[in-house]
């Protein structure tokens, strides 16, 4: 019996080795699928799997794991994917504090990591790495755009963000281009849901605008409480605070709010139209910015796979860097630090005829924008 088994195993191994050229490409996806931040990760996963599915590429195998928005868990999963599953590429992380825990160690083991969302400044400058590609943005970018836009109407801004790497990058980015005075600057706790104390301080300040970066459930809570507080100072935010995943829960309080983003549902290009249609048809909801970035990440990988073998790291890295794919954001190229060069738009929250809240582009804040850390990168 054992002999038959051994013989058939041997036969099988022969069969697989003869098919070596069609060996599957394994992509490890670590993202947030449970807990308060799950909406972002689910959009990421759904867009990514849909892009792979639509490409018809049967050689791509996905290993998807939930990090529950916990850095220590993300580190364990990454180790398991690299050592156990032997993945060729990794992607998926939404949150900057998780990216900081996982990415340096991953790229050091010569595994290529493509970020579909987080872009902490620490990985964009002197610590840039040839194995690390950011397909989304550098964290400061959206906020730089809003800082620039704020100069038009405002002189005294009150700014707040959560106390974690992306929060600090956010306010740094805003201040880099904003020329007016600051009425106040607050760092809140990550995951905080009650902003009464902060809103009271905004009320007591003489600010003429409020700029806040609060992704996921945090932003919903802030906007609802702000709308009810009787404070009438206009608010602004990056696109994350008014992304499609949170707009239904904020409700009409978001109407008319300006926010910055590299992508919007109404961005006029062929790839974007196809993406929005495909996503709506498959999942019966509108895609968020996280879905758009993740869709681009998947298509970038697919484009590179068609040009180079993933096992030939140098060739594959070069194929990725060429960024020869149709981005839903229009023009897209990588800078020397493997972070995007792209346009950043200002959007406004509007209500469509069917009562659905969504964003509409009203201005372009930056054309072919590069991040501020690229020059410190020696690549």
């Amino acid at each position: 019996m054992n002999r038959i088994l051994a013989a058939s195993l041997f036969g099988l191994s022969l069969a697989t080795s003869s098919l070596a050229h069609a060996e599957p490409v394994k992509i490890g996806v670590i993202t947030t699928l449970s807990g308060g931040g799950a909406g972002l990760g689910i959009d990421m996963r759904d867009a990514f799997t849909l892009a792979i599915k639509q490409s018809g590429n049967k050689d791509v195998e996905l290993v998807i794991e939930d990090d529950a928005q916990k850095p220590e868990l993300a580190v364990q999963i990454a180790e398991k994917m690299i050592q156990g599953d032997k993945v060729d590429l990794m992607t998926g992380i939404i949150w900057s504090n998780l990216a900081m825990a996982v990415v340096p160690n991953t790229v050091a083991q010569d595994v290529i990591y493509l970020s579909p969302n987080a872009g902490p400044s620490a990985l964009a400058g002197a610590n840039c790495n040839p194995n690390y590609f950011n397909v989304a943005y550098q964290n400061d970018n959206f906020h730089e755009a809003m800082g620039q836009y704020a100069n038009k109407d405002y002189k005294n801004a009150f700014i707040l963000a959560p106390n974690y790497p992306a929060g600090k990058d956010a306010l740094t980015g805003f201040k880099r281009y904003y020329k007016g005075a600051l009425a106040g600057e607050i760092y809140t706790q990550v995951g905080q849901t009650d902003y009464a104390a902060e809103i009271a301080q905004i009320r007591a300040s003489d600010a003429d605008t409020v700029y806040f970066f609060l992704p996921g459930g945090m932003g919903i809570a802030f906007m609802k409480q702000y709308a009810q507080s009787g404070v009438s100072i206009p608010v602004m935010g990056p696109g994350f605070s008014f992304s499609q995943d949170v707009l239904p829960a904020i409700g009409d309080a978001a109407l008319g709010v300006k926010n910055s983003a590299t992508w919007s549902k109404d961005l006029d290009n062929e790839a974007n139209k196809q993406f929005v249609e495909a996503f709506k048809a498959e999942y019966k909801r509108l895609p968020s910015i996280y879905a758009a970035q993740s869709w681009d990440t998947a298509n970038l990988i697919l484009a590179a796979l068609s040009k180079a073998d993933v096992k030939d790291k140098d060739a594959f890295r070069a194929a990725l860097k060429a960024a020869d794919f149709k981005s839903v954001r229009g023009e897209f190229a990588f800078n020397n630090n493997n972070h995007p060069i792209q346009n950043i738009y200002v959007r406004e929250v509007v209500k469509e005829d069917d009562g659905v809240l969504t964003n509409k582009i009203i201005a372009t804040a930056f054309e072919d924008h590069k991040d501020a850390y690229a020059e410190k990168c020696s690549m």
């Binding site: 909406g39 600090k168 600057e185 760092y187 009464a196 009810q228 239904p248």
Partner: protein, 306 residues
Amino acid sequence: MFTALLIEQLLNGLQLGVMLFLMAAGLTLIFGVMGLINLAHGSLYMIGAFACATVAAATGSFWIGLIASLAAAAGVGAIIEVAVIRRLYDRDHLDQVLATFALILILSEGARWLFGSFPLYLDIPPLLQGAVPLPGGGQYQLYRLAIIGVGIAVAVGLYLLIARTRLGMRIRAGESDREMIGALGVDIGTLYTVVFALGAALAGLAGALVGALQSVQVGMGEPVLILAFVVIVIGGIGSIKGALVGAVIVGVVDTMGRFLLPSLLALTMPASQATTIGAALASMLIYVVMALILAFRPSGLFAAQS
């Protein structure tokens, strides 16, 4: 202007405290009467919020949603008590923690399965929209004032229930000597179910009230649960009065810390550093206060006689 800000922040602290009291009252009651550590209390809070959001969306009325939240949380509480918790009274606390932690996972994933991962929408009822003027020139959100009112009403109601009614007498007796009241002919099983459902209903009420203010999503109960545990440890485990005092202390200290610490630190260091360090210090402040109180009163401020 500063007085108005101070009054507003005190009210914010009180509102947070009152909300924590609704959670902590049930938690401490369940611990006091049944000796059970219930980690799943946060899930009942979540169930209240989801029930309110769903029913309010279907009927268009927040008030019917509020009643639904009480009913849903009490109902789920009673089912959990009969199906799971009842088997845990004679076990040690480690088993209880393990089993109720499993309940958190089951209820969270169940809610995700039913409602999805995206937050639900629940708005403040039209009657309580907007803000009211405060003495001193400030303004305050009407809905938060209403929460404070509800919290005070619940505190008074619980006091009357426990001090003046037959059920309250049995609850107190159950805290003191559960074998004896069983021997005196009280159906201890039913009493436990009622107390558990009562605690669950209060958690559900808190969840629904807060859900309209924040966002209704899976996992919303756990951060509140941790604060509620801090409250009952400060107040003395098993004491409703302790839960009230502890909740107000935690609410006010947390709000004032977040508000005052960064500005105090800004006097001695650059503003951007002060806000970062102040925010970090403020988030640990309630735990420092808890440690201090426990150093002087190891069993809390109003420890039930044990």
